[in-house]
Subunit: 301 residues, 2 copies
């Protein structure tokens, strides 16, 4: 099951007990951290996140509200004697910033960090159950979005029916892949007679900080859940353009054109104390809208 837990839903200036951007994408036992604003490790304590399970961290861009919590988290891993390697996908200058900070502290981390510089769109993670791709978005400085895709799941075998059909167990892995069974005597057992499809593989697109830009559509097409920033409401559209951000209505238009199933809004300006207005504005364009709330987990379905 793919899901997204919000650790911070605010834009740069922390206010109204809202925190700068950070999200956890979970896929079963695997945790992926997406952005890491100041206070992320404290939010992890608050929401009882099992941070040791994080093997991959993605940083969309180098505005502080998306990464000023990272160095503290990396330090804390070392203080708790982490051994597992950590993969960090981030804009190239972050490597030098972290190295300078570690050097100034004479720090020797207890675990290795593998730094992967973001660049052209690419597959960053390709594992048995999930893949993660990067894609460019339109912000004042280089900025990337990330798409998480569950892998197609194997079909489920009905062992009783397979046994009755005389299919030997060593053939089961091919049944899971959807093959028909052909017996030695030429008899064919169609796959769907002994298997059932698994739950559909779903995908999640995180669009980071971005202006309204239809160039991102190919990268987020048909996503089951799209996270799109909505720093402002539409009466601040000029300000949104000027600051390379989006409005709730623009985010909804992107979700609509991307043929997304659901839209998750975040990165709210501190000028808004109440968040329901973002949902209300977006719903006029696209019906399935959720507003990021800190500590809440949104299941991708």
């Amino acid at each position: 099951m793919l899901a997204v837990t919000i650790l911070g839903n605010n834009s740069a200036l922390p206010m109204h007990d809202r925190h700068p951007t950070s999200q956890l994408v979970t896929n079963g036992e695997q945790l992926f951290l997406v952005d890491c604003g100041e206070g992320t490790q404290i939010q992890m304590n608050r929401f009882k996140i099992r941070r040791s399970r994080i093997q991959h961290i993605f940083i969309s861009h180098l505005h502080g509200d998306h990464y000023f919590g990272l160095a503290g988290l990396l330090n804390s891993y070392s203080l708790t004697n982490r051994q597992d390697p950590l993969h960090l996908y981030a804009p190239p200058p972050l490597q030098e910033i972290l190295e300078l900070q570690f050097r100034a502290a004479s720090a020797q981390l207890s675990y290795p960090i593998h730094f992967h510089a973001l660049g052209d769109p690419q597959v960053l993670v390709d594992e048995r159950k999930i893949s993660v791709e990067s894609f460019p978005v339109n912000h004042r400085i280089p900025c990337w979005g990330f798409r998480f895709r569950e892998k197609t799941k194997p079909r489920k075998i009905d062992p009783r029916l397979a046994y009755q059909a005389g299919i030997p167990p060593e053939y089961f892995s091919r049944l899971k892949e959807g093959e028909d069974y052909v017996a030695k005597d030429g008899r064919v057992i169609p796959n769907e007679e002994v298997t059932k499809p698994s739950a559909r593989a779903v995908s999640y697109a995180y669009c980071a900080d971005t202006r309204y830009d239809e160039n991102i559509l190919p990268y987020i097409l048909d996503a089951d859940l799209v996270y799109h920033e909505a720093t402002y409401l539409d009466d601040q559209r000029e300000k949104a353009i000027e600051r390379f951000h989006s409005t709730a209505s623009q985010a909804a238009t992107i979700a609509l054109k991307a043929n997304a199933s659901r839209l998750l809004l975040g990165h709210f300006s501190s000028k808004y104390e109440v968040l329901d207005v973002f949902r209300e504005e977006a719903e006029k364009v696209f019906p399935e809208v959720e507003v990021c709330r800190e500590g809440v987990t949104y299941i991708v379905k």
Copy 2:
């Protein structure tokens, strides 16, 4: 009035709803920030600190739990369009770290930062009502303590008595400095007949992260309030030495030998959930002990 407000009292690993080191020293309307661990600006929101009044920030050393909140605070000042210059006193490498971070963000701050590199013991601030000096402490990397001294306050004139004695108002500024009045006819009015002493000027010594080291005594001698770290209790003395930290008992010994009036303990290891044990251990050596609590203001008297 000199006072200290605690924003973070924990050592590096945030836990038990305690935060990494940060303190505000207040002197009337002036606010001085001492260290700025991750989440400091969020703590400022929580405790309704008027952060715009901070003109001087002191960073003791470059372990992350003492400065990872700084870049976020500096950014937030710019987002709220601060104009006042900010003076930053810090270990030299911090300048390069901040510059790299600002460059990566293409950030143009709305206000100037004056960076003052810490080095030999020196007077960092010398203003009408207060001075601040730096001094070296004994830590794994270069680390400084800071001593805040109220200036000697002018004597208070009793205007009725001064008028009866025939002292012209243009002489009052010299009365405040303690001079006697000499009339044109040679008559002398002793200063203490028309003035009263003001409250005694007090001082506060912040000893940052340090091993037990009597070399710091000359710098903190006779302080009305000494902040000394107590990362551990005395049963962990070996660990304290190895990690360049102190125990509660060692902190109390320093306060005693410095002839301090009062001791404030902080920088507690996350392994301790309850803090009273630090006070209890220290009181066996030195009677006037307080344990830093976040959000609490300690008046220097």
